[in-house]
Symmetry: D2
Subunit: 205 residues, 4 copies
Amino acid sequence: MTASTPLTALALTCTLTPSPAESSTQLMVDQVLAALNERGVTGPSVRLVDLDIRPGVDKDMGEGDEWPAVREQMLAADILVVATPTWVGQMSSVANRVLERLDAELSEMDGEGRPLVFGKVALTTVVGNEDGAHKITADLFQGLGDAGFTVPAQGAVYWNGEAMTGTDFKDLDQTPEAVRSTIATMTTNAVHLASLLRGSPYPPA
Amino acid sequence: MTASTPLTALALTCTLTPSPAESSTQLMVDQVLAALNERGVTGPSVRLVDLDIRPGVDKDMGEGDEWPAVREQMLAADILVVATPTWVGQMSSVANRVLERLDAELSEMDGEGRPLVFGKVALTTVVGNEDGAHKITADLFQGLGDAGFTVPAQGAVYWNGEAMTGTDFKDLDQTPEAVRSTIATMTTNAVHLASLLRGSPYPPA
Amino acid sequence: MTASTPLTALALTCTLTPSPAESSTQLMVDQVLAALNERGVTGPSVRLVDLDIRPGVDKDMGEGDEWPAVREQMLAADILVVATPTWVGQMSSVANRVLERLDAELSEMDGEGRPLVFGKVALTTVVGNEDGAHKITADLFQGLGDAGFTVPAQGAVYWNGEAMTGTDFKDLDQTPEAVRSTIATMTTNAVHLASLLRGSPYPPA
Amino acid sequence: MTASTPLTALALTCTLTPSPAESSTQLMVDQVLAALNERGVTGPSVRLVDLDIRPGVDKDMGEGDEWPAVREQMLAADILVVATPTWVGQMSSVANRVLERLDAELSEMDGEGRPLVFGKVALTTVVGNEDGAHKITADLFQGLGDAGFTVPAQGAVYWNGEAMTGTDFKDLDQTPEAVRSTIATMTTNAVHLASLLRGSPYPPA
């Protein structure tokens, strides 16, 4: 892959709602992917609840496990977006399972002893009709950083309504300006950082 | 149910390891259930990874979902034990799914407007070959408290080895004395509290 | 202390705003104390930022440390309310310091080997103009549970505005009904539980 | 500042132990600074408990507040190391206060509307005689990322002993190899990333 190949992205949508139903998490992912696209980065989203992602901490949990195919897409992308709803103040069990499966990357090294995902950049999005986004962002940053991803400055976007009111992001009349400008910043930073790290990878320690 | 019926317990074992393989999480659950048993409380554990527990926030996610049967066992028990391993510093995706499914209890009320689980007592156990137990305990206490469970004083037990060494609880020569005495305290307190709340339920607000 | 002595409470207000300035955290504390009062429990709040609470994990950090006096009030009360604002998704450093100082209680035992705070009930309140309440509640429940407090069913109240909008609780036209009813439930449950545990303390393990 | 000026670092040591007493947190900071030094980056550590860092979310809390001087050092450095002990599973109140004070950076912009700390790289270190490091790392990553710092791949190191055993990092016979190699990786990555971002700053969004 040369420095001139365009950067690509993959978004893991961790909503609990199977396709094709509307999802606030998917809506925010679509906005992040559109912003990446405006900055020259293309790539799809995968709604993981539609697939059979097995519990476990190996890269392949065997017959029927659909994580290995998702993992191939992830390894081919420069930017990973992990997107989750908020339930009981926590990320969805689907997002938690992504972190669990990423545990396997700790023993997947290149020829220089660096994790395969070193050099990849991660972004996070969290929506909820209840509070929890800062904490979920924290948990995701730690898990993704541990696995070997780099999170750019202000690499997270979130939205939740007023406490205990139950409004959904997908039911807003329009995307709040604060969400819009956060997405602009995070995607600008992600593209810049992924481009720098593609051109100049982390050296062996 | 009269005050003289013995108290019962249910343990939800959230290991990623299907039966019948050995599991550190299961081993700690067995020790907690044995300690409850010594205090007159009996009840089984369920290894949830063996079942088809669907993602979602309804009490029944439809055809094939095995949560409703687990939920019936939970509603019949006085003490709930939630037991999880630690992966990437987080609870397992199986434990996270338990919290997710408990979200439905927020709209399941008795005739007095109290959640059905009010009056039930919860305990937690966390094992890991890496650090994370305090945080997972925090997340579980909050999710269980929100749903309507009461956690007794010092209602948690955990074990993890020295940082980045990878030892498993099930591979220890013997259970550390600190784990043993914590289990004694937490089960003593749980039985006491469950007994008080059975005799004198929370009044309507 | 006999079973017929009225229950008392103490609220630790962990706002960053010194007295006498208005504080959203203080406002919510006042509402919780009023609700306890309606249920026959009286007690003051202490705004800790007005005092010199030293960093450290001993019960007395020496000359000038004002924690020992607060601790005496805490040991005399049946119900402890810990109230914090939300900054950067975290509890205030003042609230964090309360947990830090409570660490000392792990070695403060009665004649039966039980922590001195066993039998006391804790409640939490969190306000913020940004998201964070579920996570802060989790951290507080864990720290307070570890120290030996019991948290009743649904023993937390919180409020935060819509993401990134910056509204303060104290600037709302009126207290939202959801906050009001949560306070009713949590105080009802706290008084019930504190009364049960006063009458029938946790036995030695 | 030209691309050829050597990179500099600042470590904020958030131990509860005032100088000159020995501190596990300080010991780990010294190891991280030594590793940075081997990679051509120099800079001091500041033990914050020795200073009067006021609670608050302004960049200057007035007369006597010693944060503004620390902040100047931070703004002059390319790499920030935040180092905390673990108490009750949480970062110290001193570290929490650093996050609190960094909240002010959200409104401190350069002429292009970018936070002043954009382009700076952050690392974290956590030690404890009890579990908590993954969670504290998560909280720090989120707070530092929010403020505008970039955390490199695997930008954290930690150590804690076996659960409930009470061993201190400073009392180990030698630094575990896993800690040593993690420090090598995190400092290699931090220097690489800080150098890239110095040469090519995040563009305006």
